[in-house]
């Protein structure tokens, strides 16, 4: 029988106590893995959401609502325009990779709902926009067949509300102009779901807005300094620059505060688990005072006793760590639901991304706790004097 088997059997002698200590350690490991997984998953999901915008910077005319929700809020009014020559100006910037021109138009539809409503259209450049938003997938059909055609691509929710499918017709209210639906996008979870996309040239023609834009999406080169690009764009006349990098930073700042609080809780949980381990092993040492004395009197050296007790602690921590990691993997969905309920904003996608690195780091941390926690009880056990301990049996 080797030292590991002896240590394991010793732990089994007090099943409930060992089990509770194991549970304490596994809960700490669970919290730690979930937290590290959240740290990784949240940032990844947030980056994905930002990347799904297709461009990092949006240039619009000063005071112009830059997305459909704001436009609706303003009752479809308040649009400001910039000339399409700005596209070439921005494209000349050395750090800019791609640009895409956009024109947003809104029209009052008296038959939408019971008292009318606003319908918004987004004119896009069929050559650059689909490239920039290559992640958009189609439920039916595809992008426009003609860059100046009377065609529309509908976001999933618009299509569902309007019961449109590829091949159907849709009507621009008031103008009474028919558009042929050529594609239905799959659900994205973004504002694209509620957007009606039309070739920009067509929309300019229909609304008499030739040469005018409401926004330009800018994708900067990889490793480019977005802040510098933004500063340069601010120098363009009568434009406002909306940076999604800023939006991301604000959200990350908010989340960092929340994460610090959770990390503190995790630290407390780990300290409690550590004290639990020390207590359990120390109790076990005191209970086996005579037994340790007998072992030593038949030839065991202090280092042998030290190792035995130390190994017990390490086994307990290793098992607890494995159990905690299993909990965190199995219950990651539940953890995610809890996080989504607690946080004011959560991006789409998986929030708790546990990988092998996180599992290894946690195991290392728990093992470290085991090694440190076992030192004192093992030292106490190693110091037991055989005669004193045997004599104490009768006392």
């Amino acid at each position: 029988m080797n030292i590991f088997q002896v240590a394991y059997k010793n732990l089994l002698r007090k099943k409930i106590r060992s089990g509770l200590t194991l549970l304490g350690i596994s809960l700490s490991a669970w919290v730690l893995v979930s937290l590290l997984g959240f740290n990784r998953g949240y940032e990844k999901a947030l980056n994905k959401d930002i990347d799904n915008m297709g461009f990092q910077v949006l240039v619009t005319a000063k005071g112009c609502p830059y997305e459909a929700a704001t436009l609706m809020l303003k009752g479809g009014t308040g649009l400001r325009y910039i000339g399409d020559s700005v596209v070439n100006t921005i494209l000349k910037h050395p750090e800019v990779e791609k640009v895409t021109a956009m024109l947003m138009q809104a029209i009052f539809d008296p038959n939408k709902g019971e008292s009318g409503g606003i319908t918004a259209y987004l004119g896009i450049d069929p050559t650059t926009y689909p490239q920039m938003k290559s992640f958009l997938k189609f439920k039916q059909g595809s992008w426009f067949t003609d860059p100046e055609g009377f065609e529309a691509v509908l976001g999933y929710e618009v299509a569902e509300l309007e019961q449109r499918e590829a091949g159907d017709l849709t009507l621009i209210p008031e103008k009474n102009i028919e558009l042929k639906v050529v594609g239905i996008l799959s659900r994205t979870g973004t504002q694209d779901d509620g957007t009606i996309f039309v070739p920009i040239k067509t929309l300019q023609k229909v609304f008499g807005m030739e040469g005018k834009l409401t926004g330009v999406g800018v994708k900067v080169k990889k490793d480019a300094n977005i802040n510098l690009v933004e500063q340069d764009l601010y120098d363009l006349p009568d434009v406002q620059v909306v940076s999604l990098a800023q939006v991301k930073q604000t959200i990350m700042d908010l989340i960092t505060t929340a994460k610090m609080m959770v990390f503190s809780i995790a630290l407390i949980a780990i300290l409690i688990a550590m004290l639990g381990v020390i207590n359990t092993i120390l109790m076990s040492v005191f209970e086996r005072f005579q037994e340790i004395g007998i072992i030593k009197s038949i030839g065991a050296m202090p280092w042998d006793v030290f190792k035995l007790i130390w190994v017990e602690t390490i086994i307990l921590c290793l098992l607890g760590g494995v159990l905690g990691i299993a909990f965190s993997l199995g219950l990651s969905k539940v953890t995610e639901v809890l996080i989504r309920r607690l946080l004011p904003y959560t991006p789409t996608g998986s929030l708790v991304a546990v990988n092998s690195d996180i599992a290894l780091v946690t195991m290392a941390a728990i093992l470290g706790i085991g090694i440190v926690s076992g030192l004192y009880p093992a030292w106490r056990a190693a110091r037991v004097r055989p005669l004193e301990s045997i004599r104490s049996e009768g006392e």
Binding site: G113, E114, Q140, L161, E162, Q163, V334
Partner: protein, 230 residues
């Protein structure tokens, strides 16, 4: 044995939480825009209402879908008319007494979605008809009160004689009296009649306990082959 039971309880709880966390990707239903206001408008004598959510998938699956399609005389089509569409049904109360129902359905029109809402009495007779949403060039004529009034008093028995595919009405159905207010609006007019028939069938299936099933043409054909006395 006890340990096993505890383990099973924990497992069930975990599965329940896991399923609750699963993202819901069901199709869109058709709700009243402002239920408090709309219920009071359609049933001024009402004091309250209860909302029920049902779907064909939940209540009977493929077999029920076949039965509904048979009664409708047309199949469910396209991306959005599917077995998992949740239908929102409103039971209307005066005090504790049930006095009627309100139900709306989405229907594909020529240029966009149409939402047809019906207010029904306990017998399944239409007491009010209105479009909550209508994308049509001829929306003004179709939304005119006189158009909706033509549906009042009709029930599913009348609509059984209306053939959705051909747009023809057989026999002495009162549906034949419903006039299209604008001849150019024929596709949306027919879509409206289809939506009304579908709406009435769904209410019969989910709220009236299939009161009108026996009047369904298919059912009557079937009855002809039954021995007399049954």
């Amino acid at each position: 044995m006890n340990n096993r039971r505890i383990f099973l309880n924990i497992l069930s709880l975990y599965l329940l939480l896991y399923l609750a966390a699963w993202p819901l990707l069901a199709a869109v239903g058709c709700d009243l825009n402002d239920p408090d206001r709309d219920v009071k408008r359609l049933f001024p004598e009402s004091t309250g209402y209860k909302t029920i959510y049902v779907s064909i998938a939940q209540r009977g699956g493929e077999n029920l879908l076949r039965q509904i399609e048979q009664r409708l005389g047309d199949s469910f089509k396209g991306l959005f008319e599917t077995i998992d569409v949740p239908y929102t049904m409103y039971q209307i109360f005066r005090g504790k007494e049930l006095i009627g129902y309100i139900h709306g359905v989405n229907q594909k029109g020529q240029y966009g979605g149409i939402q047809v809402f019906l207010a029904l009495d306990l017998e399944g007779d239409i007491r009010a008809f209105y479009f909550q949403k209508l994308t049509s060039q001829y929306a003004k004529s179709l939304r005119d009160a006189s158009f909706g009034q033509q549906f009042i008093g009709l029930n599913l028995k009348d609509f059984y004689h209306y053939d959705i595919v051909s747009g023809q009405t057989a026999g002495q159905s009162r549906v034949v009296l419903i006039k299209n207010p604008a001849p150019e609006a024929e596709p949306d007019f027919r879509a409206t009649l289809r939506a009304t028939k579908k709406n009435l069938i769904l209410v019969d299936e989910f709220l009236l306990g299939n009161k009108y099933l026996k009047f369904s043409p298919k059912e009557q054909d079937h009855n002809e082959y039954l021995p007399s006395g049954l």
